[in-house]
Symmetry: C2
Subunit: 415 residues, 2 copies
DNA sequence: CCAAACTTATTAAAATATTTTAAAAAATAT
DNA sequence: ATATTTTTTAAAATATTTTAATAAGTTTGG
């Protein structure tokens, strides 16, 4: 099932290689633009119309591309439109959380073609790769996907990850760190691995609230403060995969001890940690609040969602706690904005659900700490489809790699 | 003098356009790699060797390219090497400072082909464009440059600049803000305009201490703290051209008033402002120091260089002042490092000349404020050719645009 | 150290592919 | 209804790639 007739990619002759590249370019264009006319394709890949048609016909023959009605014309014959075939290319997307993984399969129109499968695992699970393989097989079989049409596996997971080599340095057992290589061996397909916050950012950029904004910042606001950065329309990893570690910068001189070992990190004053810790203190001091009434005897059950819900029903104590972490995150964002001058900041994660109870104090902080002419141009919004952002991001990234725009081509036996 | 024989770029036929693009690609490759063999070029632009040779011969005919000896071989005939012709393409580079402008001309090997001309002007000078034109003509005539071979003018200047439209929003008189358009009209050639700190950063990235480092930060450390950012090998402007404004972030809660109107900006504690202000205070208090001896009766003459020189000769007061601004900048850089995980930070500008007197306190700050696993990978170095960085940067950027990698092609009547 | 075997580059021709041109088809605007 | 615009198709013209032969080196083995 390949773009060039019955040959190994490694011994394509010059012209076959040329056509192979052109076809990949066409697939990439169709992925990006959904539908295109023959004329549009010929001009975009820089060949004449008859040549473009020949290439398109061959792609149709192999079921990668199909015609899709006619397009609009400004006075003249309507053009035939082409799009990627609905069942041409699938990718498996997997998101690994602290205790469980989510998995689903997307087609080249970024439509989910299976349900979302969940299974228990974690980044230090030695059986991780095997579990991913077994569960992928379950999805493939249950939903009758043609396995030969599955061209890659994308995985996002917590930790410090080298995007190119697909190594997760946070995994304790050194032998299991090379996640990409191990998955590639198990599946025999292309694999892409990156950090969860960054893939959520990419998902928001390609499909979500940051769509169309070339310079965007996406915050995963929860127990930590993950940050994904999009610069000039590209995902930014940093030189060793640490970009966006705002969470562990010092904001309070002699502040609380942070899990990272330092004191007074932003995370200690602007995340769920602060929320729960200070809610507990208040409850112990019998502050007037719903939270005191509900959680006095079961503080260990208190979750960030509970504080948010209390705030939404008007609880002043909960509101004041959210106000504090909003101000604190706002201060952190103000540095970020001054340094990076983004178009948009998208907030996701549990705390973002507090909506105006955090948006207002964030804005107050920006007013205080930013130059007006910089901060007045940045939009701060709450993500609308956070649950899928990470899966969609990893799927989009995989398609980008498959179509060869990012990595050097011919590295994998695709198409 | 064009790549395609005697035609206007706007009515090139399909195949002529194709060849035009291929030739531009070859020029770009030769600009990047300096010399290449025919085989290398054919594989890099994706055509067969005979085709590449045809293109190269045509480029040689028009004097854009020349053969340049033979290359190395690992067992076989030595290849003919090609390079850009020494006198094929020139660009004018101009750097506008507070009170004067510097100008010179580079060839496509980034060699200066004229002296550096200096003339008095400023960003609010209504005669700016005319002065640039007149002085460019002087250089062209004095050094007998073929004016038809000058393909563009690059200008870097202070202020908030929209790179694409070439508009400097900091210019007071609105009618004179569109610097790019006005220069293009006057010269009839391609023009590139951007902010000075960013062009210095680009210069350091392409030719200087940041060469080869895909993620680099370049600091212009003087009265302000300018910052240029390189991400994934590309210059980053931010969404409205404000990227790198670390200088005006709040670092001291109730600090000194800054020129920006806010209080306690980094600039008030980490720039020449702090140095001179606090040196003056010390001198008034008759602190034991060379500076007191030399400047007691002429404080208005005190320059940052004087403090640096005093420190170099062992003056403890001067050393302590430099130590303070080093610690302060270090704190600012630690946020930047945590957020952006760069490979290298290059320091330029007057204060960087204090070398170890500032490098040591900067490092101390990083140790205090950064996670070790992030900061341990970043190199902090002093620029080695700061005086030319801005001119070289703008010249390199212009060549990138000329060869069509960045902007859409055919926009200008080049080649 | 020299000749034979092996590489790699260049050139010229034959084979193949692409672009151009022109004509037909299908739709829109006047 | 006719002229205009745009797409599609097919043939002719042009360009590119392949192939094969030649040239110019390097390496190896006697």
């Amino acid at each position: 099932m390949i773009l060039a007739k019955g040959k190994n990619r490694n011994d394509l002759s010059g012209n076959e290689l040329k056509k192979f590249r052109q076809k990949k370019k066409i697939l990439h264009l169709l992925y990006q633009y959904h539908t295109l006319s023959g004329t549009a394709i010929s001009s975009k890949i820089g060949v004449s119309f008859p040549t473009a048609l020949t290439l398109l016909n061959e792609l149709c023959e192999f079921k990668f591309v199909e015609t899709f009605g006619t397009g609009v014309s400004s006075g003249g014959r309507k053009p035939n439109m082409y799009r990627l075939s609905n069942e041409s290319i699938y990718v498996i997307a997997c998101e690994l959380g602290r205790y469980k993984a989510k998995m689903t399969i997307y087609n080249s129109h970024n439509n989910q073609v299976t349900s979302i499968l969940t299974f228990a695992t974690n980044i230090d699970d030695n059986e991780l790769v095997e579990k991913i393989y077994v569960n992928a097989q379950r999805l493939i079989q249950e939903f009758k996907i043609d396995e030969n049409r599955v061209y890659g596996i994308g995985l996002n997971m917590p930790g410090l990850i080298d995007e190119n080599r697909g190594i997760n340095h946070t995994i304790k057992n050194e032998e299991y760190r090379n996640v990409k290589e191990r998955l590639e061996t198990r599946f025999g397909k292309m694999v892409y691995v990156n950090n969860d916050a960054r893939m959520q950012a990419y998902g928001e950029y390609i499909f979500g609230s940051a769509k169309g904004h070339l310079n965007a910042i996406v915050v995963n606001w929860n127990w930590g403060i993950g940050m994904g950065l999009i610069f000039n329309g590209n995902l930014y990893n940093g030189s060793t995969g640490f970009a966006g570690e705002l969470s562990h910068t010092k904001f309070v001189d002699e502040g609380d001890l942070c899990i990272c070992g330092k004191r007074g990190c932003l995370e200690t004053v602007a995340s769920s940690n602060f929320l729960i810790k200070n809610a507990a203190i208040g409850i112990n001091e019998n502050v007037v609040s719903q939270l005191t009434l509900s959680f006095k005897n079961r503080q260990q059950d208190l979750q960030p969602e509970d504080v948010i819900n209390a705030a939404k029903s008007g609880d002043e104590f909960a509101i004041s706690l959210l106000n504090k972490i909003g101000m604190a995150l706002g201060k952190g964002l103000s540095f970020t904005i001054q340094l990076l001058n983004p178009e948009i900041i998208v907030l996701g994660g549990v705390i973002s659900q507090a909506n105006r109870f955090v948006l207002t104090p964030i804005q107050q902080s920006l007013n205080k700490y930013c130059l007006d002419k910089i901060s007045s141009n940045v939009k701060i919004v709450i993500s609308e489809n956070w649950e899928q952002a990470g899966l969609l991001g990893v799927s989009a990234m995989l398609f980008q790699h498959l179509f060869g725009d990012i990595h050097s081509e011919l590295k994998y036996e695709n198409f």
